[in-house]
Symmetry: C2
Subunit: 352 residues, 2 copies
């Protein structure tokens, strides 16, 4: 095993839901690759979640052993050192040498808390941070980027929006040359799915139940249907791709709650199905953004995205439109986005 020679790269996992559980086997499977290409071997310094408690592993836990563990965190062998709060978890993690906080707690669309505070604390202790949580980025992007810079740490969030598409990498490496002026996008798959089921004759309640059954809709589907999820993503994209300084409440918002099934079906029959469109545009030194239902015309490139597809079409200053499409995103893709952030952190740290 080449991994014997690799130096440890210590991870602190905060949030232990679907994404974390998809990330671990992915890391384990790429053990040899990480050792060979980057010279690192990931070790878990701690895992914590509000429901299961917060556990620190001072010597570092092998990723593989955590993959095999299907029981609760409490019953891990050898047991971790339990701490009481997320704050204590972060400080204890730092004290045992954690390099990166991987923040995977659930979205709070009101103010991004407590994830925002977790990320602040981690950056202040010079830990790098990866998050897939839209809240803290939508509310604190500029502040967190400054904080990261001041503490010589990296802050990455590739999987927060359109997980499957490397939009943040695009923004980082090609934005200056491309000069993005505006975008239009379908960012919320649940609302697309629900609308297409209504078009096929189901009621809103039936469609919602089915989406939850499929594991697509959140526990509270109104985050999706009222446009809050899309607003978070639109804010993040407006602030990264268009260099805006928006907060979520500055994004004009209308959801699909008040659309009547008849209206939805009539629009689809006439060849212009309704979808929840996110859009943003530079306007002098400002950015104007909105999320609202729109009829998608047959020649609209967003038409490709009316199934279970995420799509974004960028209008660029001198290059015309560029469109990126991801098909039927799953939690695997979110985990992959986190993995790619990890790779980029190691690479940049090494200056390669």
């Amino acid at each position: 095993m080449t991994s014997k020679k690799a130096s440890p790269f210590r991870l602190l996992l905060l949030g232990y839901g679907h994404v974390a559980r998809a990330l671990l086997p992915l890391l384990a499977a790429r053990d040899a690759w990480l050792a060979r290409e980057l010279g690192v071997r990931p070790l878990i310094s701690g895992v914590g979640s509000r429901s299961q408690g917060f556990f620190i592993f001072p010597a570092g836990l092998d990723v593989g052993s955590l993959v095999q563990e299907s029981g609760p965190l409490m019953s891990l062998q050898p047991p971790g050192t339990r701490v009481e709060t997320a704050e204590a978890f972060l400080y204890a993690g730092k004290s045992v040498g954690a390099d990166v906080l991987i923040e995977l707690t659930t979205l709070n669309p009101l103010d991004g808390q407590p994830a925002l505070d977790h990320i602040r604390m981690a950056l202040q202790t010079r830990m790098h941070v990866i998050t897939a949580n839209k809240g803290p980025i939508a509310y604190g992007l500029v502040e967190l980027q400054k904080l990261a810079h001041a503490h010589d740490a990296q802050f990455r969030f590739e999987s927060a929006v359109l997980d499957g598409l490397p939009l943040m990498n695009l923004s980082e490496y090609t934005l200056p040359a491309v000069d993005i002026q505006a975008f239009r996008a379908l960012l919320n798959t649940t609302s697309s799915l629900v609308l297409s089921m209504i078009e096929e004759g189901q009621s809103l309640d039936e469609a919602l139940a089915r989406a939850q059954q499929l594991g697509i809709a959140e526990a509270d589907p109104w985050h999706d249907l009222d446009g809050w999820d899309a607003v978070m993503k639109t804010t993040i994209l407006a602030n990264t791709l268009l260099e805006g300084h928006l907060l979520p409440h500055m994004v004009e918002r209308a959801g699909i709650r008040d659309l009547s099934p008849d209206e939805v079906r009539a629009a689809a029959r006439s060849g212009t199905p309704i979808r929840l469109v996110s859009q943003a545009r530079r306007d002098r030194d400002d950015v104007i953004a909105s999320v609202h239902p729109q009829r998608i015309q047959p020649d609209d490139i967003l038409r490709v995205g009316t199934g279970m597809t995420g799509i974004i079409s960028l209008e660029t200053g001198a290059m015309g439109p560029i469109t990126l499409v991801e098909h039927e995103p799953t939690v695997q893709q979110t985990a992959y986005g986190v993995f790619s952030d990890l790779v980029n952190i190691v690479r940049r740290r090494q200056g390669s």
Copy 2:
């Protein structure tokens, strides 16, 4: 002007056609941005072309003054020092401090020469190289990358394939995480345009004449219609995105020359228009690639690209398909790709 404090970044332009003439105003317009963001000020150390001769400017020529110059290179004031050959031009350029060779000569699909030799020479003298010329990359990618690495120089070619899409950046920054297994693409706009005109009732000759009038088709349109242009691009993508080691003659090739207009029209009428499809797939340690006409089914994502659109759909190991679309590419986009390479060279040189 902030540019006063910026340090000179010296460019050697080899090839003085449409792309070079689109690049210069773009550089001039971004003078302040380059000084502010990167601390550099581009200066022209030399410009040369086979038809107009090779000229060196030892003190460096201001980009703006070259933009305003519409006459032949010979009549530039103050005049450059004329040298006889491209080789002499490269060495003289190096001796006056050129940092980057921007190679924009025309495609030679047979062996990529003489561009391949120009790039070798430049890298050996530790100049960075940017090219938009597919030939040298299709024939010499691995060798040129090794050469660049050995001489601590950078070799970049973002605009060689689907100029408007940052595919090479994607490959460089996200390939390891994304694990691309295969791609399908429409890479040659001329053949798409000619086929769509035949579908509308024109003859092949009429369609060709129109494409040339529009400035889309090359002087020799058979590079496009026989699939050579697509083969070059497919080779490059197979070797970068899929880490293959193909040479152009290893790509199975069939063009659209032998399709009858009736066949083309019948296919379009039945809802499955014919387009020249590039595809490649990993196969154990190898990559298999082809370029040939295919009927595009209604539910095929490539369907989006049947107009004047370039499109590539990537099949990734764990993330499902990702599709990128560019709309009606022009020479502006090629120039932008070169500019983005330049930005990345400066950034990487600075280790940022």
